[in-house]
């Protein structure tokens, strides 16, 4: 049996290794993105805002990996800098909607009754609201910049979390360990904070990862339409919008920022998928 055990261990270690390899790659890439978002200047070879009109619309080369735009600015550097704007904002949006939504849904699910019905009505109204319209209206009210887009998207994304967390809370409520804690004298607030909400954290984490991808698509779309970021911000959607006028002469201008979006979204969606498979 010792041999068998020993052999089994080796097998399981190998399996773990393969699994760990792909997860490791994902974590590694996300770490890289985080670095780019926090310290873009480490990765940018040129100044993302530096105009150099003589070298405008140059094709990709060793010096300018992604070519230059109509102002002669290095697109590669702008894409890196843009990560902070695009991906950073997406993370912010997801963070805001997840926190607010979780809180909202937890309260609705926990206290139930009239409060629950009321809160869920609010959720229903926001849930089917098309974000584009809201973003347009907000942009008109607050002004055309990232603030209004971030607010608009956060307002549209939070109901999803509220609904999901409420459902989870409802099923947790019935579980024994809550009753046990209560019998030990735990208060409502205590229970909610230390038991219930942490229990939903896995599902929320999965959703957040997926949402960073989806929000990024929505956000860049808004900037493309002129609702979010404004020039000279190196926001990816905005860059593609600017590139529109030069499609016949500078394919690289619209290609690379868009490619960045595709890669980041794929990364976060794969990560979310992987998380859900491991934990749910």
């Amino acid at each position: 049996m010792k041999n068998l055990n020993g052999e089994q261990k080796l097998l399981s270690k190998n399996i773990l290794k393969l699994k760990n390899l792909s997860v490791a790659i994902l974590y590694g890439l996300i770490g890289l993105i985080a670095l780019a978002v926090l310290f873009p200047s480490v990765f940018t070879p040129h100044d993302p805002y530096g105009l150099d009109v003589i070298n405008r619309l140059k094709a990709p080369s060793l010096n300018h990996l992604f070519g230059t735009d109509e102002g002669g600015r290095d697109i590669f550097s702008r894409v890196i800098q843009g990560a902070r704007v695009s991906v950073g904002s997406s993370i912010l949006i997801v963070g805001l909607s997840a926190s607010f939504g979780t809180f909202f849904g937890a309260i609705a699910g926990w206290f139930g009754g009239l409060l629950d019905t009321l809160l869920m009505r609010v959720v229903d109204v926001f849930l089917s609201f098309p974000y584009l319209v809201l973003a347009m209206a907000l942009a008109a009210s607050i002004g055309r910049d990232m603030r209004s887009s971030i607010l608009a998207l956060a307002l549209v994304w939070w109901p999803g979390y509220a609904r999901m967390v409420r459902g989870q809370v409802l099923s947790i409520k019935a579980k024994l360990f809550i009753r046990a804690s209560r019998s030990l004298g735990a208060t409502n607030g205590n229970l909610l904070l230390w038991h219930v909400i942490p229990h939903t954290s896995r599902a929320v984490a999965v959703r957040m990862s997926l949402d960073i991808g989806y929000v990024l698509i929505a956000l860049t779309g808004l900037s493309f339409l002129g609702l979010g970021a404004q020039n000279p911000s190196p926001e990816w959607g905005l860059m593609v919008s600017n590139a529109k006028s030069y499609i016949s002469v500078a394919w690289w201008y619209s290609f690379f920022p868009g490619l960045a979006i595709v890669l980041i979204v794929s990364l976060f969606v794969s990560f979310g998928d992987r998380l859900s498979r491991d934990y749910i």
């Binding site: 609201f129 319209v133 002004g143 339409l225 499609i247 979204v265």
Partner: protein, 322 residues
């Protein structure tokens, strides 16, 4: 529901720190002119009264005037809506038909090469932003290869077709002009392809998943034991039951499609509501924005109603009790 979103949009549009009258009058206008505009737009009246006027107007189909086009918004909408419908309906049709078709094939032949291709490609569409896909297609197939027009639908004057509905295809048919019809279809291809690429993966994957579940059911084994042809089982038995969740998803997808349509219309300068909304927004033209909100919300509600109407068709138990 509809009421809630209309009111919400109205509130948002009036909470502006900026002065709508000034914006409408333009930057050069002097204070007197701004007052003039304010009065003419009814912006000097108390907020609640404005709201009531607005609501009354909706019931009478009067949605105000567009500052940009100087036409009544209702007229504008009627003019541009068909082109959007042409785009949306064609895309939706392709997504529904091919999404279901590929999903069924994928479930039926799980170990084939086709299946591997499907696994790889069905996720990509979602990650590609619609506007980027559109631009790339435009760059390569229209600008570079010249197979398709870069922008617009049917150049009406060039082909001598009368503007009746605003849908290139329909108007060409009405005029009996076959070359124009061909041209309008060609113009449709790139925008529709863009929308299809962005959405079809969802439909395909869901169809495949539900089909897989159905094909594992006992009644499939029973049917095989009776000697029923495998394809008959796939379509008549499995697909019928799989359609339920798929139809629900398609209903949701219609909503997402509307969002993507705006972007596609901007990229391809397609003369539909999306482009209209985009221009209205850029020029702070309020009435169109409010009106478009209304239209979008109503479409959402209608779509949901339609989807719930289909359920009795699919589930006999519902049919016999209703």
């Amino acid at each position: 529901m509809v009421w809630a979103s209309i009111t919400l949009t109205f509130i948002l549009s009036r909470i502006i720190p900026a002065d709508p009258a000034r914006l409408a009058a333009g930057m050069q206008a002097g204070p007197a002119q701004v007052e003039e505009v304010r009065r003419s737009l009814g912006l000097d009246k108390p907020l609640f009264e404005q709201y009531l006027t607005y609501l009354r107007g909706i019931l009478k189909f009067d949605l105000g005037k567009s500052i940009q086009t100087r036409q009544s918004v209702t007229a504008d909408i009627l003019r541009y809506l068909p082109a959007t419908l042409e785009l949306v309906l064609s895309s939706f049709f392709v997504i529904a038909v091919f999404g279901i078709l590929f999903g069924v094939l994928w479930a039926r032949f799980p170990k084939s090469f086709f299946s591997k291709v499907m696994s790889a490609t069905s996720v990509i569409g979602v990650a590609m932003p619609v506007f980027w896909t559109g631009l790339l297609l435009q760059m390569f197939f229209a600008a570079k290869l010249g197979w398709f027009p870069i922008a617009g639908n049917l150049p009406y004057q060039e082909f001598g077709v009368n503007f009746v509905t605003g849908m290139g295809t329909v108007d060409s048919l009405l005029a009996g002009n076959m070359t124009a019809l061909r041209e309008s279809v060609i113009a449709l291809i790139l925008p529709v392809t863009t929308l299809v690429i962005s959405q079809i993966g969802v439909a395909t994957r869901l169809t495949k998943a539900t089909m897989e579940v159905e094909l594992k059911q006992r009644y499939v084994t029973t049917a095989r034991a009776r000697g029923v042809n495998e394809w008959r089982i796939t379509i008549l038995d499995a697909l019928r039951n799989a359609l339920n969740p798929v139809v629900t998803m398609l209903g949701l997808q219609f909503g997402w499609l509307l969002g993507g349509t705006i972007l596609v219309e901007v990229v391809f300068s397609w003369p539909g509501l999306g482009l209209y909304a985009f221009n209205a927004f850029r020029t702070f033209d309020y009435n169109p924005i409010l009106a478009i909100t209304l239209v979008i919300t109503i479409t959402f509600v209608l779509m949901n109603e339609l989807v719930s109407l289909i359920y009795p068709v699919l589930d006999p138990k519902l049919r016999e009790t209703s």
